[in-house]
Symmetry: C2
Subunit: 588 residues, 2 copies
């Protein structure tokens, strides 16, 4: 037997007990007659003591141990004279009487401590060592706990977890598929699923009523820092439900996760129309940890002789609380910030609301103190606040101001890690017109249902009508991150055909790609809808580490889609290509 | 709101209540003034009543409903005059006051009843309809419950569920990989994992201590009835454990699953050495629902002048209880059965132990009554039993007799569906000599550790020694099915190198394929071991439907690896091939 206890569980009440521990040598300190070793495992750290007087041989052996050696050691628990209140085991130490080295260790290529000296690439190559660091261990355990609690909640509500296939059919719609050549069906390919969308809908047609799955999905896209080619969803679908019931069910899930894993209870779980989110935050995933709602100012800003405002579609601003104290230099930096190509604004107008009730703006030439006062009133601004105003074509101006709002939130410390503000954004548009390809895209996906009251308009409306159709589609947003999204689905074959028409599918294309689903709609498809949560992002956001998705995946890929540790992807044997009826054709 | 209750929950105590139900029309019966509809959902069936006198219009509408129409109906629960004790809702019916058709249905291509008229292919093409049948719904729910209980047990023991990657590296060892061309890394391929073996070992090196995952795995093999290209494992690994601790932990899991899901408690959970399993059952996965152990008979069968026995390596038999009553015709059929090419035996000797104490055998010419009596005593045979004796080269004779034993078990009704006999087979050989390729194969896999006391022999032994090395490797067997298998792993780089040598890897091959794992062994790998359960098979065996794995997978592939419903695999767009730097090259 390698151990009687783990390295995190011994306490003062165990004093006097004979125990055996196994683990890794985290640290070693040699004094004259003593050697102390911090022995580490997943559960904690326990101090081992070797005494030269009692057993010189044993103590000499302990002194030869290096960092990360794996040992098993036997001894007696005793009270520590020099207690460490920062460790759960800090009141005790083990007086070792025998010890075995289970495995040696080379000197690790970087120090396995929270403050490590290893660069990103090096730590990715030795991921199994990086994963020994406390923060990564905690992240992976956190993720495991989240999955356990999600399953507990859903099982309690009679959801069934059903595994859908990984080897499916390629569909050109949306992002690129990863494909898998079939050896037995020459010249043919499976695709890896971007989501189990059609299968979960078929499960509803099959009568499973409530489905969920925590499932790997795949997308062959050019990667960004928070994207991975394989990612995990909590995928859910329900039959005979309204949007309202879905929102309540998954609001319940979200509350359950925060309560059980973080012990946080939400006071408030607001809902906001998509149109309002765009109008008030310029964004379909507003961060509600702070205010600074947009104020539209055409009525007080236009026709005052300032040509930039006069000839534009929208003048819109935010009020940054207490930011009138920004120096000229800081304000210039803000202007430069919005002019960077990533934001692309022409400029930025600001108005300082001085403590004495006066105003100082970059447009004093066109707007006198009374006019600026009228602005300040529109914003409900207080002395000491700073108005930031942008202008332009509506969508662009909103997008730019949204970025600025978030940036100001960061500068003012309003986006606190320990704050969590959930939000449902509802009633998304059904379709999105794409100027470039000159066609409609599905805002959510092609199976999303228009709102019931919109169906007439959808079946009979003209082109312009289509742009304004609202769908039973919703996103769950937390702190400005899209955590989940879903919709009520179309369950009527006619309506689904019409939607494929609008999205520019020919009858043949629709049939070839989704014929099985439309076929299923002929045989009694129930009304149904669902949602999918991005599980990797949920983990990182809940842990207060948004944007650090890789730290919550045991073995992530890098930005080139490579696993550096195992060196994948890699060339395969020419025989394998022959078997698969493939030739490489590397152009350029 | 589509429903206040589901179709399985209303009882007599709900009588008088206004309810709304939604579901599928299972059956419709029209009588003079009444129409009865059985409304079905996942939870059950409830009878709806439409009365011509009360509401002729409504009743007329009900009469127009076809099978599998989806409706929502409102009415009052009342006691049924004609109760149906076979249904949980059989005491009540709903007097309908309003009804809406939510969706129509074409006439399904086969009847959606337990006794269906649909052939296998037709039902696979309309899997979403086949899945409406009660038995398939039950199977999928059974599977979901098994997964819930497995996770519950493992989480309780501090196992962490960690997701390992799906896009990994191809390794020529073992079965064929499915590969995934990388667009971003031209000419390179990912592979889909045949198991998370190396990753779970790296998680142990990383210190996660106890890992599990219910995970999809992939194998591009020619398919048999009970094989699928994608399949699911309950994959587990533990650190600082002995074989004994692993057996106890997963014996516990098995008991938990049987207890919670089937309410079965095992009296006995025996362990058997691999060598004994081969000697007594000719099989490394013996079905212990019945006895009929092998009896080796060289001492009583050889040198009696029967040349078939004299010149052979092994004479071995079983005693079939009560089978002396088999007719000549039945016995001839048995002989033919073992002579089929699938079994490949030359012949079969039988001895009837007559009720009067005499014996009748096919080898009376060579063995007199006394000799046959000595045989019978060796078998502990009783009057009425039948001895079945085979001869040949040891491995072959055992294999053939094993098949015959199972066949006799079937004929004699000894392999009962409702009986469950678990068994650990332990101490498998480490290596298996393959005459054809003239090299050793790993009996379990190349990471399996020899037993501690065998390490010296392994490092220093000659070729013959290698054949006899025993490993800390074990299989969980239930009713003759291999449900799980695992081993203690090598955690020492030297020993792992030696094992790769023995398996015929060059240093370069081992480095290219498993360098990352051997590298990890340099940095303090703990002793570790684990097991993987075939989850699909576990489901089918526990449900008493062994060999019917497909009935426990929502969307299985057929024998050609095709999903007939979605028509996958299928050709992909030529543009996709260009992006992937591939050409098709369909030879012959």
């Amino acid at each position: 037997m390698y151990r009687t206890h783990n390295c995190g569980e011994l306490r003062l009440e165990n004093a006097g007990k004979e125990v055996t521990l196994s683990g890794w040598v985290q640290k070693k300190r040699d004094f004259g007659g003593m050697t102390f070793i911090d022995l580490r495992d997943r559960y904690g750290i326990t101090q081992l003591v070797f005494n030269m007087d009692d057993n010189a041989n044993l103590c000499e052996n302990a002194r030869k141990l290096g960092r990360e050696f794996v040992i098993t050691a036997k001894g007696k628990v005793r009270e520590r004279s020099n207690k460490n209140p920062n460790m759960p085991t800090g009141n005790v130490e083990i007086e070792i009487t025998s010890m075995n080295v289970l495995n040696k260790s080379e000197t690790p290529p970087f120090t396995i401590e929270e403050e490590t000296d290893g660069g990103e690439d090096l730590r990715m190559a030795y991921r199994y060592l990086d994963l020994r660091r406390d923060s990564l261990q905690k992240n992976i355990i956190f993720r495991s706990n989240l999955a356990i609690e999600a399953r507990k909640y859903l099982a309690e509500l009679d959801f069934i977890e059903v595994e859908t296939p990984c080897l499916i059919k390629s569909t050109p719609e949306g992002a690129r598929d990863f494909v898998v050549p079939s050896r037995m069906n020459k010249g043919q390919f499976y695709a890896l699923p971007q989501s189990p969308q059609t299968f979960k809908q078929l499960l509803m047609v099959a009568g499973f009523d409530k489905y969920f799955q925590i499932v790997k999905c795949f997308r062959d896209e050019d990667l960004r820092a928070d994207r991975q080619p394989e990612f995990t969803q909590i995928d859910c679908e329900m039959s005979f439900v309204t949007q309202e019931q879905i929102l309540n069910t998954f609001e319940g899930l979200t509350k359950h996760l925060f309560k059980t894993v973080l012990n946080i209870e939400f006071q408030d779980f607001p809902r906001m129309f998509y149109d309002d989110a765009m109008r008030l935050y310029g964004n379909d995933k507003p961060d509600l940890r702070f205010g600074m709602e947009f104020v539209e100012m055409n009525d007080v800003a236009k026709d005052k002789g300032f040509v930039v405002f006069d000839k534009t579609e929208l003048v819109v601003g935010v009020c940054a609380p207490g930011a009138a104290s920004f120096t000229r230099k800081e304000l210039d930096k803000l202007v430069k910030w919005v002019q960077r190509p990533q934001i692309g604004a022409k400029g930025l107008v600001y108005v300082k609301c001085n403590e004495d009730g006066s105003f100082k703006s970059t447009v004093d030439k066109f707007f006198d103190q009374d006019m600026l006062k009228a602005w300040a009133e529109k914003f409900d601004a207080k002395p000491g606040d700073l108005l930031l105003v942008m202008a332009g074509e509506t969508d662009k101006a909103r997008k730019q101001l949204s970025e600025l709002r978030l940036h100001m939130g960061d500068l003012l410390g309003l986006r606190k890690k320990e704050d969590f503000k959930p939000l449902w954004v509802i009633d998304f548009p059904l379709l999105e017109w794409d100027e470039e390809s000159n066609r409609f895209h599905a805002m959510h996906h092609p199976f999303t249902s228009p709102k019931k009251e919109e169906i007439g308009r959808m079946l009979n409306g003209d082109h312009e009508t289509m742009k304004s159709l609202k769908a039973d589609a919703y996103d769950l947003v937390i702190n400005g991150n899209e955590i989940g999204g879903g919709s009520i689905r179309i369950h009527d074959r006619e309506l689904q055909s019409k939607n494929f028409d609008l999205l520019g599918f020919t009858k043949e294309e629709a049939q070839a790609q989704f014929g099985f689903l439309m076929g299923a709609f002929e045989y009694g498809a129930p009304p149904h809808g669902g949602i999918a949560f991005g599980f990797d992002r949920l983990c990182s956001v809940m842990a207060g580490e948004e944007g650090r998705i890789r730290d919550f995946i045991a073995f992530p890929k890098n930005n080139q889609g490579r696993d550096i540790m195992i060196d994948a992807p890699s060339p395969i044997d020419p025989d394998q290509l022959v078997e698969l009826s493939l030739d490489l054709n590397i152009r350029g």
